[in-house]
Symmetry: D2
Subunit: 348 residues, 4 copies
């Protein structure tokens, strides 16, 4: 069930509706949109108490939400969710495309700084490092070390940082040091982790599981939101199919489907989603063309310096080229690239 507030409803009206919901034993989720606020309700079965809520001041309408996911549904909140970051003008889900870039792993402070410099120069605003590789059993000390480098990058290059959490310990560390907590594809249905992250008030980048349906993907977001964390960013990064021309099959067709079913922003990761460097630029362009709110790519240092890099990584020159191309596609879909002129310059 969702309470649609009138456009002129006051903060006080909204508070009173939330209290009324809590009093009848449910949980209230005020979700503010462009024009008006909606209040999602979780924990209820059926229409208990519906009558009373309709008569409260500021209430425009009480509606049932038919989807299994309620708070993540566009039925509950028709306006796009825009995730904002205190002290910056960066957003995910707004008019600006969100560009996330970074290395596979941060092993070397200087290399990470050089890469961050190149990334920031293009206008990208988000730096991601798989701080905690879920495969490796890094010591706590090493993890903190990596997160501190991320924090320095944040300071020096004005980049917002993203790191992955895989359990309660890494969740705590990431929440402390990074701007966005990533929950990876393998943990998309780790409901224990989702609930813990839902209790934080930090944006979460939630990757789609390799065989997650659209409904399961949005239900995972619902776990986060039903605990009160509404700053959820979705990320498509490939699904499992019979084919093997790429590591995974990047499912761009989920983008228009998500945008119709949900108000949450969605990014596309063509690096992990294809595992082919030569597919990253084409698929990044396609992602923006079909309505994604941004892309996340893996950038490696130039080959002569460090040859390594994941199978879907691109080098800084290709990254600058990508920014240039996305800057041209953005206006076709009513979007802009942050610091677009700069980005264009870098690509020359």
């Amino acid at each position: 069930m969702v309470i649609v507030m009138k456009a002129q409803a006051t903060e006080e009206d909204i508070r009173r509706v939330c209290e009324a919901i809590e009093q009848i034993g449910f949980r209230a989720h005020p979700l503010s949109g462009e024009g008006h606020t909606t209040v999602g309700i979780t924990g209820n079965r059926g229409d208990a108490g519906r009558g009373d809520l309709e008569t409260l001041p500021g209430v425009a309408e009480v509606r049932r939400v038919l989807k299994q996911y309620k708070l993540a549904s566009r039925e509950t909140k028709p306006d796009d969710t825009v995730v904002r970051f205190a002290g910056t003008d960066a957003t995910i889900g707004g008019k600006d495309l969100a560009i996330v870039a970074g290395p596979c792993s941060v092993e070397n402070r200087e290399q990470a700084f050089e890469l961050a410099d190149q990334i920031a120069a293009t206008g990208a605003r988000f730096f991601r490092a798989a701080a905690f590789n879920p495969h490796a059993s890094a010591s706590r000390g090493l993890r903190v070390e990596t997160l501190k480098i991320l924090a320095e990058i944040r300071e020096r290059f004005a980049l917002l940082t993203i790191a992955e959490a895989v359990d309660s310990e890494t969740l705590g560390l990431t929440a402390e040091w990074a701007d966005i907590i990533q929950i990876g594809a393998r943990n998309m249905q780790n409901f224990s982790l989702l609930r813990m992250a839902g209790r934080l008030r930090k944006p979460v980048l939630l990757e789609r599981g390799l065989s997650a349906t659209l409904d399961e993907f949005l239900m995972a977001a619902e776990y986060l939101m039903s605990e009160g964390n509404y700053q959820v960013v979705l990320c498509e990064r490939g699904v499992r199919t019979f084919d093997s021309h790429a590591g995974n099959t990047l499912d761009l067709s989920v983008i228009p489907a998500v945008r119709q079913a949900s108000h949450l922003p969605i990014l596309v990761d063509p690096s992990h989603g294809t595992g082919r460097s030569d597919s990253v630029l084409p698929m990044a362009r396609a992602a923006i063309a079909c309505g994604a709110n941004g892309v996340a790519v893996e950038v490696r240092s130039l080959p002569e310096k460090t040859p390594a890099g994941g199978p879907g990584s691109i080098d800084p020159e290709q990254f600058a080229q990508m920014m240039h191309e996305l800057g041209q596609i953005a206006p076709v879909v009513g979007r802009t690239l942050p610091r677009e002129t700069h980005g264009g310059a870098a690509a020359e």
Copy 2:
């Protein structure tokens, strides 16, 4: 094995090479590219006769082709194949994007004409009608009737026509009346049909099977080409996956993979590939953005006139809007829309 001819090789040189190949019992396939010609060889095992061929006049190099498909491979022919149509400047695979549009079925002469008029007005050059629905057992008479309407449309609106062939009888009729023969997804591995179509000298639009790997897709093209028909246009129209947010999962990630592996042009059909009208425009934009040579969409008459239409069909207004948007994305990938200004005008 492929014979790479020198740029200055003469027609006579090429003919002599082909004769030499046929004399040692194989089949020669001269494939002319932008700069120079390559001659593919089929039927051979190993390097039989390699030595002799290398010494012929005009031969630059004799190379082995590692892929299972030889003639369809970019190893054999590095230049993009451009399919041309006698008496027109329309192409598939060239600088111009190829836009294919048409109704699910041609049942009504007047409606078909009206739709063809609207399609032609946007600058699109190809009109497709599922003349022979593989599900329906239309009589021969009805089939000829439909094909005659297509031929009239060709005449009156200067549109090139596409119709599907499913067996020897329909193949003969289609070859007689239409400009392009479509072989549908369900028949992608109907090797008997492929071989028959390979013996014709008409362009073939070959749809990817619902669970065809990239290699199987290109092997199906190889069947056509090894019979001497090199005018093959590929078409991605969705694959089978676990997910059901759309009828099929449109696999755009195959586009950059095909373009690397093969010289053949490839179109994307977002109507059948998603089965969702609201996904057609986003996925058409994405298809062009990631390098497809064009799109094929199902257009229905405006609802007030005929409500019916496949689940992924769009109406003429949406089609004009699509043309407008593709016209903006085309230059980002070095392409143009045919009669672009006209297309833009239609969308206003």
Copy 3:
């Protein structure tokens, strides 16, 4: 719609019902079961003429069939279909398990005879050879040659023969020379071929396509049946999934689902369905254990004689061992192996 005849309905009653159906413009399909006959109706939409039919002599009930496939549905015909072969006591779909065995291809008359001898000795009743490899473009002469060898095997070893048809020409030849016409996985949705085979009165072995859903599989059978050929045997031989531990993923879970949805018999081909010789015996046992009506396996001559054989082929000793094991599992599911003692003896 289906007409259920009374148990005591006469041939004359049934004929009159069929005539009445044809008179109102539909097609009647008398399907005789154990106890009573049902008459399926195709070509109708809605309940046209229902009233009249109900009053005819011998009619017990007129029912609507909800599934998309009508004649293939167990709603239409509750009893299992048993395919019989004139002049023999062999059946598919009856109490006896149907065991189909044979080489990948018949290239050598003597080897084929030796193999047929070994197969017949175990009690198996069906000999299959991929007479027409759909990949190869064998000449008509070679095809007839192969079919003649099959016919000799039929004569000499009292084995019923199976060969594949891929188009009108091979369909005619196969119908002439073999006992069962196979329509392979790649042609499961070759509706033109299905309709042609439906007009014959020869049993058809219809393989499931690599990405065919249960409904599509039974709809393919419906194409055959709606033309009047009710002797359809289904065959599961692996589907496409993300995994690659085997060539395909043999979907045994479709067996109980088919047996509930349809009255048609179903075989399992663990040779092509797994592509792993070491999986053939375990999966053959499992197929019988979950209710399949038999198995089809590829048997190669013993290695010292001809090393070749498909990736999922077994040798004659393994085949005899398989027969021995199936003979032990058969009674658990209420089945028998033909000439069981003989089969047991061969395995010693």
Copy 4:
């Protein structure tokens, strides 16, 4: 790398080899089989120190293991692993089939007891309850309550108990109260949880993820084993495919593949693996017929008492029938049902 000890190697020899491995900085994993012990080595790259190890007393051979998973591989340990339970003669992986049964959830003490009684009466030795539904956020109190009921069932009916762990808290509770810790399909790649469970010395039932390849499945087992927990039982419970005739597609073809690649036992769960009650018995029979070490099924109380039950649950009568049928199939594959006569009696 793996050290194969001689059959006559002493405990002292094995200890000395392990010490030598640890001294060069790696981890030693002594895995005792039927005839002789092998010592797996993890943490090594290449053949460091190989020479020294070969000369130690009792060492027969030093071999490289080619698979990505080392300890889970049959290359490392050729003999089947048999998981044993102190104070009982129950095993998983031995000659006896392991039969796991239980309700979807334990909500009612009396009902759980009645069901446990019925299960124990058939000879089944393992009782499983989804003590912690990963979807539900049960309080710690409620969880302990459920686990205590399991402990009572263990006491009263001599059944070994299985419960699921989803995070560090539930892992601790389950290890304390249950005999086997289940790690569910959604957590198969929750590497943090796998490592924690690997540090315990309790058997783990590891479910295959819905889109896990065979290699990923065995790598998940490797995570557990590389922490020193070698008592791993695998469980196939369906994978994601394009088809929907069942909730999931139970992949029985993975059973022979696992048994060839690994020494670990594997069970099949046809209840969750098909989601169809009418498929449970056929697929349970097939699982045993193709070599699984046992089955895990969901049993509901008889309908008149509690109508609810998962979509793939069977009732106690069907369960007894299943035991009867498995008792007949077991000897075909060289297995036995525990307390077979009793099981047979119960089915009468």
